[in-house]
Symmetry: C2
Subunit: 331 residues, 2 copies
């Protein structure tokens, strides 16, 4: 069923049908009724593709995600959807599985008229990313990292991590092991680590005396790392850059017959949904990922409407969640 068919059935021209559908221009009440009737009768759905071509607007935004099956990503996407819906937009999501080449391919593919704008959840931004993005003309918003020249939605990783380490220090800990990830991930691998070392240094605690373990984002990896750490010496606290890593560490510690937090305190970052239901409930930092998605989408739509790419930073609040995985060792 196309607009022509509807026109024929209603005894009018395609133009009139279009006017009725979009509430534009004048249409005599009588004809309008006739058209509306036909539309309802045949459940006419206009061809969105044709509309897009004509209007030079697809009413779709592209979302590039490293891994959709991740609590973080899906919560951000959830936020984006909310705003998109208000604007009558659909999401096209591209799941890259952390593959840089895929990201580049999708940037190119989505751009230029398939979508009206792109939200990119970034972990690593290479020079190639920058190069490609600078060639694209549609609005782009980055989530999770700062890129000069683009609106970026940021989770205050530095302040959050520092607050966490300072909290540990305040509780009397000076022997704080670090469980982190590869520095390819800027926010998690680099910034959270820097916050950790800065916090120690500012407190006058030797960084070189601490134990470090760097791995991937998997619980099992943290489990193994923690095990190795424990064969060397026993810290009084562990700062894991991720809740999942903290959980891995906790299990290793328990399996070594040690108690948390009595023997070793453990903290994470991120506040996954189940963090507070663990035993002990995990002390961590809560990020409002859905809010990130909302803010990113709002910025993108502003961008789409005004047509100017802003170099804007949007900081998303975090919240310290003090629970029971830390104990004070002040005498």
């Amino acid at each position: 069923m196309k607009i022509k068919d509807i026109a024929k059935l209603a005894g009018v021209s395609p133009a009139t049908v279009s006017r009725v559908m979009n509430n534009k221009g004048y249409v005599k009440a009588e004809k309008r009724k006739a058209v509306e009737r036909v539309i309802r009768d045949v459940n006419y759905q206009p061809n969105e593709i044709a509309k897009s071509l004509k209007n030079q607007k697809s009413k779709m935004i592209g979302v590039i995600v490293p891994k959709i099956s991740t609590e973080t990503a899906s919560r951000v996407v959830d936020g984006i959807t909310t705003v998109a819906k208000e604007h009558g937009y659909q999401l096209i999501i591209a799941n890259t599985n952390l593959d840089v080449e895929e990201e580049i391919r999708y940037l190119n593919f989505l751009s230029n008229k398939l979508v009206d704008g792109i939200i990119m959840m970034a972990t690593e931004i290479t020079p190639i990313h920058e190069e490609v993005m600078s060639q694209l003309t549609i609005p782009i918003v980055i989530v999770g990292q700062k890129l000069e020249g683009y609106t970026s939605v940021l989770h205050d990783d530095y302040r959050a991590s520092k607050a966490m380490v300072n909290y540990l220090i305040d509780k009397g800990h000076t022997d704080i092991a670090f469980i982190g990830v590869d520095p390819k991930d800027e926010a998690v691998g680099v910034i959270r680590k820097k916050a950790y070392t800065d916090a120690l240094e500012e407190a006058g605690i030797s960084v070189s005396n601490q134990q470090f373990a760097i791995g991937d984002f998997e619980i099992e990896t943290a489990y193994k790392s923690m095990g190795e750490l424990l064969t060397r010496s026993q810290p009084t606290a562990v700062f894991a850059v991720t809740d999942h890593l903290a959980i891995g560490a906790i299990h290793s510690i328990s399996d070594h017959g040690l108690r948390i937090p009595d023997d070793i305190s453990v903290v994470g970052i991120g506040d996954v949904k189940l963090a507070k239901y663990f035993s002990p409930p995990l002390t961590t930092v809560h990020y409002m990922f859905k809010t990130s998605g909302i803010k990113a989408a709002e910025a993108l739509f502003e961008n789409i409407q005004t047509g100017v790419r802003k170099n804007q930073d949007i900081m998303i609040d975090f919240q310290f969640e003090e629970r029971s995985s830390v104990c004070s060792i002040i005498k």
Copy 2:
């Protein structure tokens, strides 16, 4: 940049550029080189919308999800993405937040030429759903529920739940409380409950003596329900239709000063990622949701290629995960 511009720059006709881009028809090697050069130089991206309109194929599939920020949904979507990528397809995801009207709207919107097929993750299928879907001409695959006339990907909820309850019975439990959800959700609310009552009946255990609590999917709700149950009488085991509900129950039980599994055994269904890291590790059933997504997508593409809507059932395997949240009470 459009095809015309490229043609001009390469000194050929638009048709030739098209032939080069799609590797169709004959093009003299020399001209091909020239065109390819220009394409690379200006990083030409063909307008996908125009292609879709011309080809009557959008190379996109629609995915209707009740809630993307859910472990289940995001794992299914992950599977779909994998297959879609192999076919050169993109996903348009529609997050309905469990709103039936939204689902209907999206079914209509996505259909007829915006997408080449739809995968719908269903919780509740109303007569309106059926009505609308029967009017659509594009292939549709349902995930999570059976709908007559459509390819359906199913998680063997009945067998899985029954296996779980039988396991409890084998361990000597006859006093098994039930924590479920509203019957609007067919698979979780209805089938899992039926499996529970059937298992009891078949074992000759009175169903009417059991305690029931029906709520939503939230951990907190289960926490409260469990608390109320406990004020009445103390079962020896709890069958929760969801891991989250099981977790809520576990917390309530602990907060009442009871131990798991020593005082009360608790089981869930679903095996969320963190289930095995709880204390005690939760006995549950593992569903391969990513596999569901993969199978659904494969079925959809077959559907798209052959053009016939199959009335096919695809059962996804489950796996019993025996962990430590259950204890035997056989003397």
